[in-house]
């Protein structure tokens, strides 16, 4: 199998959501001593982009979208040790600290966003659900991340998004990270009201928003 064929198969595996095949092809690429950066950029990335396109066109629904993200994650997990060994730094589009705010255990929306950001080249630190507000800030400082993404499904817990921004202000860190908010009760108006840097309605729009804010 030549390089082009492999890239095409990788794309197909991602588009069709076949996880073990996406992993196997990553192993094959390693075995063939291919340039792994090229494998990612010409195989995996176009694959997940196509998944996103199909989703936007209305052909793919959330199960296909999230499966695509999981395939990417699985393949990257195979490639990462090799990249580390060769000391190749993959281009990160940005570093994201993400989680569902304290008091709220809903994490579907957050998982979708985390998965899509990660599949699209962002470095994602997922703190999970019911995350103490201070923890978002501490982790963002510690990892020097670009974004803090706050998810909330409940109208009662969405106040945590506002409080996190207030905490950032208190700590003189406001403006240091781009704060994105999401979740059923949130909207652009809310984001503006509390001084967040952005709001996205769904996971794909979150990727676009984050990319735009990174100037990509």
């Amino acid at each position: 199998m030549n390089k082009e064929e492999l890239f095409a198969r990788i794309q197909k595996a991602i588009i069709e959501g076949r996880k073990s095949e996406a992993e196997d092809l990553a192993r094959e690429a390693i075995k063939a001593r291919l340039d792994l950066t090229e494998v990612i950029e010409k195989g995996y990335v176009p694959g997940i982009q196509k998944v996103g396109d199909l989703w936007e066109k209305g052909e793919y629904f959330l199960p296909e979208l999230i499966t695509g993200g999981e395939c990417m994650k699985a393949a990257m997990a195979v490639l990462q040790p090799e990249l580390d060994k060769a000391q190749i730094k993959t281009k990160s589009k940005g570093k994201v600290v993400i989680g569902t705010v304290e008091g709220d255990i809903h994490d579907i929306g957050k998982n979708l966003v985390a998965s899509m950001l990660s599949a699209n080249g962002f470095e994602v630190i997922d703190l999970g659900a019911d995350v103490k507000l201070e923890k978002f800030i501490d982790k963002a400082v510690e990892t020097q991340s670009d974004f803090i993404c706050l998810s909330a499904l409940l109208t009662t817990t969405m106040l945590g998004q506002k409080k996190t921004i207030e905490l950032l202000k208190q700590k003189n860190l406001y403006g240091k990270f781009k704060v994105l908010v999401g979740g059923a009760p949130a909207n652009q108006k809310w984001a503006d009201e509390i001084g967040a840097d952005g709001y996205a309605e769904n996971a794909m729009l979150a990727v676009k928003l984050a990319s735009r804010l990174m100037g990509a």
């Binding site: 209305g58 629904f61 959330l62 199960p63 255990i105 809903h106 579907i108 929306g109 979708l112 109208t155 009662t156 106040l159 059923a184 009760p185 769904n202 996971a203």
Partner: protein, 488 residues
């Protein structure tokens, strides 16, 4: 007279129900369920169940849960504020109450959703009080002009001041239970009196999949001990927080609710508990939980049938819509839900007035929905054998000139046989046009103004009001809230 058939909707065969229950029991036993509440875990542990304290996972044996089912009452009686009017929650009785805890209100004047304030909550409660087909109140709006720390108790406080109807409510914080119970007891004249004549239902929602949080498990325990009925609100989202198949979601729903029943009965044998829920068919395109989806309603009707099989009172979130305004979709989804819920004999149906995925209340929709509920009630009252013979005697001496309109038979029965709506348009085109071609929301709005102007608020007596205000003020103060909005 020939007995009237009570029209009935059932979606599951007996065999299918038993299969779903069997699998729910198997999951509770083998996989267990998470209960993040120390007291509940202790109750389970004392009952001999295997509890993993580290993970808060409890493995429930079928025999224990069945014992709990046997002590849970199959019928609950609620009483209004005066203690005189009784509402039976059980059998195939149907009671509608407005969809609860909306964070936004649809402002008729602007056509936009906005945050509700105390005045909106008072209007909402007063309006519900006027609507005959909405039997219960709900603490339907969360006032944005009071701090969140007292938001749950505040809406109950307003509800108890301005309404006589029993109320469906719930806690947002563990510590709110006590003052909320105190408010209810103050109206009832004591804790014992409250337990013997419940005035409120407290909702408690497990977190899908298979988890009872600290807050909700505590609410079950506290309510059980106070004799306040708990409503178990399982809410799997198909393919997102539960299995994608309707039957798969039902298994999880039943497992979560059975655990809830067990908590109530272990806390207090015989505690009133309602087999309810707010599940939804997850929209795989948009990631939203559509309450107006037909599959959502199918899950509701399905678990309600299982609840009845288990001999428990039932509840569902139906008769509501995901539309953002009072359009055709709002009427369509609400109408279908109200009718299906009523046909299924679901005892408490929460939803009227609600739009936008349980997030927005509309006063205009509430009065439109009251008419929808009237239609549903009329439907389930069935076709009656009013008199005998049915017709032959009325046709004696029949001529082409016979007048039905002036027949005593007509006068005797027309108001009982037929419902005459106020909001729905039944005018001729010309009459409708001459009145300004008003859309339904406008007609509803004008009707609300009339209703509120002609019905003085059903304010609680001075003594009880003083007591309610004392309890609220003390709790507010303890939470650092010193000023509260003025009330009419």
């Amino acid at each position: 007279m020939i007995k009237t058939v009570r029209p009935k909707l059932e979606l599951l065969s007996r065999r299918f129900i038993e299969k779903i229950i069997d699998e729910a029991f198997e999951i509770l036993d083998k996989q267990g369920i998470f209960v993040e509440n120390k007291e509940a875990l202790k109750l389970f542990s004392q009952a001999g169940m295997k509890v993993d304290k580290k993970t808060s996972r409890v493995h429930l044996k079928r025999r224990l849960v069945e014992k709990c089912l046997a002590t849970a009452p199959s019928v609950i009686k609620l009483y209004d504020r005066t203690g005189e009017q009784e509402f039976v929650v059980g059998g195939d009785e149907v009671h509608f109450d407005p969809g609860s805890a909306a964070v936004r209100i649809l402002d008729h004047k602007t056509g936009e959703e906005r945050k509700p304030e105390t005045k909106d909550l008072v209007d909402f409660i007063r309006l519900t009080e006027c609507l005959d087909n909405i039997h219960f109140q709900s603490t339907g709006l969360i006032s944005a002009d009071v701090p969140h720390a007292i938001a749950d108790i505040y809406r109950l406080y307003i509800g108890l001041i301005y309404s006589r109807k029993p109320v469906v409510t719930g806690t947002f914080r563990v510590q709110s239970f006590r003052p909320m119970k105190d408010l209810l007891a103050a109206v009832r004249g004591g804790e014992k009196e409250l337990a013997s004549k419940p005035l409120a239902i407290f909702d408690a929602c497990p977190s899908p999949p298979l988890k009872w949080s600290n807050l909700t498990a505590q609410s079950l325990i506290d309510s059980a001990r106070a004799g306040i009925p708990s409503e178990l609100i399982s809410m799997g989202l198909t393919g997102a927080t539960s299995l994608v198949t309707i039957s798969g979601t039902l298994v999880q729903h039943v497992a979560e609710n059975l655990c809830g029943v067990a908590i109530t009965q272990l806390a207090k044998k015989g505690a009133p508990v309602i087999f309810g829920g707010s599940p939804a068919s997850f929209d795989m395109k948009r990631g939203t939980p559509p309450m107006g989806a037909i599959e959502t309603m199918m899950i509701d009707v399905g678990y309600a049938q299982i609840g009845k099989y288990l001999n428990l009172p039932t509840h569902a979130y139906m008769a509501l819509s995901d539309a953002k305004t009072n359009d055709a979709q709002a009427g369509m989804e609400t109408g279908v839900g109200a009718v299906l819920g009523a046909l299924a004999g679901i005892n408490v149906i929460s939803g009227p007035g609600m739009l936008d995925f349980e997030s927005c209340q509309s006063l205009e929709k509430l009065v439109i929905d009251d008419e929808i509920c009237a239609m549903a009630y009329r439907l389930i009252s069935g076709i009656a054998h009013r008199d005998d013979p049915i017709a032959t005697d009325k046709f004696e001496g029949y001529t082409p000139e016979t007048q039905f309109l002036s027949m005593p038979h007509t006068k005797k029965w027309y108001r009982l046989e037929h419902f005459y709506p106020v909001i729905a348009d039944r005018d001729t085109y010309d009459a409708w046009a001459s009145m300004g071609k008003k859309p339904i929301a406008q007609r509803a709005h004008e009707h609300i103004e009339k209703l509120l102007a002609s019905n003085p608020p059903a304010v609680v007596d001075q003594h009880a009001r003083g007591e309610l205000t004392r309890i609220l003020t003390a709790y507010a103060k303890a939470n650092g809230v010193t000023s509260l909005p003025g009330l009419p």
